[in-house]
């Protein structure tokens, strides 16, 4: 049984992960720490585990915690990853890794120093559709990849996601990294230039951005755009989408990771919903992290992957400020 601790339920994905763990036979939530003690106690009770008032107590030897899942606000990822590294456990950190290149590098370095592994939460890597696309691209089935059109649009998650002090931005820091990670993984190349139009267009009262389109150039010449907006209305039938159109010299492919659904029209509350079915990428990612924790195998998604994806979002913000493309890596 792999014993994982959850650090903070600030991010709604903490509930997804805890629920996924409950469905896994050989992984358990062995403890919760949260800087919001009330929330931490409540969640510990909900998932039938113990609350610890400090990270030190969570990682105390007698608890035998083997890995930590960090699901705090973006700005607190660094604090919590460093605490987990200090506690000597491998870490699965929610995306984006952090809100600055410097902080992300400190996190990577400190994990190395402590001899623990740092994995970043990019569950799209575990989508079977993405897996098949990756295989086709790697095997050259689509020829040379010329262009990719990506979207990761969603509803505005609200809460601290709208507070730049806690999130490090708005929609762009939230929604750039998943698709950029998939593009990097497919191409095995980095983004060398990014241009972005970013603004607050859907809720003008927000203190952060909620709309943005990135244009990117990869080092090998592939060009890509990404819509990272919180442009889905609150009554959209599902939270949002992750899609890619891939244009190659040998053919084209379209991936739509969350299209599998049953349409539901419910009279009682007047809603129309898309009920997803099939594959649970979160569960597979958690199981893979637990496998790495248990066996010492290298984690498949590294802190470096997290840093490079985040850097594109930071470059996009800089580009939108000056209305010019920005070269990457950031100076």
């Amino acid at each position: 049984m792999t014993r994982l601790g959850i650090m903070s339920f600030a991010h709604l994905h903490a509930d997804f992960y805890a629920t996924a763990i409950a469905g896994l036979d050989d992984v358990e939530v062995a403890g919760v720490w949260d800087d919001n003690a009330d929330r931490g106690r409540e969640k510990a009770a909900e998932y039938d585990t113990r609350f610890f008032p400090t990270p030190e107590e969570l990682f105390a030897p007698e608890n035998e915690i083997q890995g930590a899942i960090v699901t705090s606000e973006n700005i607190n990822h660094k604090r919590d990853v460093l605490a987990a590294a200090e506690g000597g456990v491998d870490i699965l950190c929610e995306k984006p890794i952090s809100v600055s290149v410097e902080d992300a590098q400190v996190m990577i370095d400190e994990c190395d120093r402590a001899g623990v592994q740092l994995m970043i939460s990019f569950p799209c890597r575990y989508s079977p559709a993405f897996g098949r696309l990756l295989e086709m691209v790697r095997e050259g089935d689509l020829g040379e990849i010329l262009c990719i059109k990506g979207t990761n649009r969603g509803e505005n998650p609200g809460g601290w996601f709208n507070d730049p002090e806690l999130a490090g931005g708005g929609a762009i820091i939230d929604h750039t990294v998943h698709v950029v990670d998939m593009m990097r993984t497919m191409l095995e190349e980095e983004v060398v230039k990014v241009y972005a139009e970013i603004d607050t267009l859907f809720d003008p009262d927000l203190p952060c951005d909620d709309a943005g389109i990135l244009s990117m150039n990869f080092e090998g010449g592939c060009m890509a755009t990404l819509d990272a907006s919180w442009s889905r209305p609150d009554n959209y039938p599902i939270w949002g989408d992750v899609t890619m159109a891939v244009i190659g010299t040998g053919g084209n492919a379209w991936a739509d990771l969350f299209v599998e659904r049953v349409d539901v029209w419910r009279v009682t509350d007047g809603t129309y919903l898309w009920e997803p079915y099939g594959h649970d990428a979160n569960a597979e990612m958690i199981a893979d992290f637990a496998r790495c924790v248990e066996t010492g195998a290298p984690v498949p998604i590294t802190g470096f992957d997290g840093l490079k994806a985040m850097e594109v979002a930071l470059g996009a913000y800089r580009s939108a400020e000056i209305n010019e493309p920005v070269g990457l890596p950031l100076a």
């Binding site: 010329l146 262009c147 059109k149 649009r153 230039k193 241009y195 139009e197 603004d199 267009l201 859907f202 809720d203 003008p204 909620d210 709309a211 943005g212 389109i213 244009s215 150039n217 060009m223 890509a224 755009t225 819509d227 907006s229 442009s231 889905r232 209305p233 959209y236 159109a245 244009i247 010299t249 053919g251 084209n252 209305n323 010019e324 493309p325």
Partner: protein, 327 residues
């Protein structure tokens, strides 16, 4: 009865010729093409006279010249037709460079003739309905407008469409439809950034263009001549109060399968949405009404010029590998 001369006997020349023959107020009387056989073939089909030389177009027996040549020649025929006092319907894009646009606008204005460019989305019911919903405020203030227009390379690898210097590739030739609709709906554009691979023609061109409008709207336009399937279009327009979406392939009112030679295998499956009148016929009818009544066409010369300006900015941005083009 107004006499119509078709200048350029390609696919759209034929389309417009058939339309003008259906309209009670017009009759196609002359077909011109630099390739005599092409002019003769279309002339025979629409019961018109093939022109013996270009100057036949400027004869007293012609009222309307329909310019359906490759793009770089729109300018020359439009200017000459206007100077001869002919009304001009010109296919999109209006022209290949801004200098041509200015000269065309000047020529038609000086001649006082009716001039319209074939931005046919103005006559596609789904685009008209979407624009009305937006202007009626159904989705509030628009934030992001995404359009897609997806096709195979038209005319095959030998066609002039594959010649970037002539056609401007997918962005000038096809995505310009969406540029026009966006400008019509959201007002003037402020700046343009574009990625594309026109150097891959034939067989591939593909462009991703981001436009910032003065109103603040951000538009993203996908144009594809990289496709291997059926022509299709999409739009997804998100605003403060909601979302509009349409996909040409998701809602065909009629789908037909034909049984092939091989048992149980369809030769082809074609979805379609037949309309009482095609958008192209509606467009030509509108133009004829403007000629008869002396009224301003729905697509003004300035509108057509503005769409070319955005498309050329996109080409310039892509050619420069990363310049933001301010309009």
């Amino acid at each position: 009865m107004l006499s119509v001369a078709i200048c350029g006997a390609g696919g759209l020349g034929r389309n417009h010729a058939e339309n003008f023959d259906q309209i009670p107020d017009t009759e196609v009387t002359l077909v011109y093409d630099v390739v005599d056989e092409a002019a003769e073939a279309l002339a025979e089909d629409v019961v018109a006279r093939p022109a013996e030389q270009e100057s036949d177009l400027w004869g007293d027996d012609v009222d309307i010249v329909v310019v359906t040549t490759p793009t770089p020649f729109h300018h020359d025929y439009t200017v000459k037709a206007a100077q001869a006092g002919k009304h001009v319907f010109c296919e999109k894009p209006m022209c290949r460079d801004m200098e041509q646009a200015e000269e065309m606008l000047q020529a038609v204005e000086e001649a006082g003739v009716t001039f319209m460019v074939g931005h046919v989305l103005r006559f596609f019911a789904e685009y008209v309905r979407a624009r009305k919903l937006i202007l009626d405020g159904v989705i509030g203030d628009v934030g992001i407008a995404r359009t897609s227009r997806i096709n195979t390379l038209p005319g095959g690898p030998e066609s002039w469409f594959s010649n970037y210097e002539m056609s401007g590739g997918v962005t000038l030739d096809m995505t310009i439809h969406d540029f026009d609709w966006l400008l019509w709906t959201f007002g003037p554009a402020e700046r343009v950034y574009s990625l594309g691979v026109p150097e891959r023609m034939p067989p591939i061109d593909y462009g991703l263009t981001t436009i910032r409008f003065e109103s603040g709207v951000i538009a993203h336009c996908e144009g594809s001549w990289a496709d291997l399937g059926q022509f299709r279009t999409h739009f997804d327009i998100a605003g403060t109060d909601g979302l509009l979406r349409h996909s040409s392939t998701d809602m065909p009112t009629l789908t037909v399968q034909r049984r092939g030679e091989q048992e149980g295998v369809a030769a082809v499956q074609v979805p379609e949405s037949p309309a009482a009148k095609s958008p192209y016929l509606l467009e030509d009818e509108h133009f004829v009404q403007c000629v008869l009544n002396g009224t301003q066409p729905a697509v003004s010369g300035e509108d057509a010029r503005a769409a070319v300006e955005v498309a050329l900015a996109a080409l310039e941005s892509n050619e420069s590998h990363g310049e933001v083009i301010e309009l």
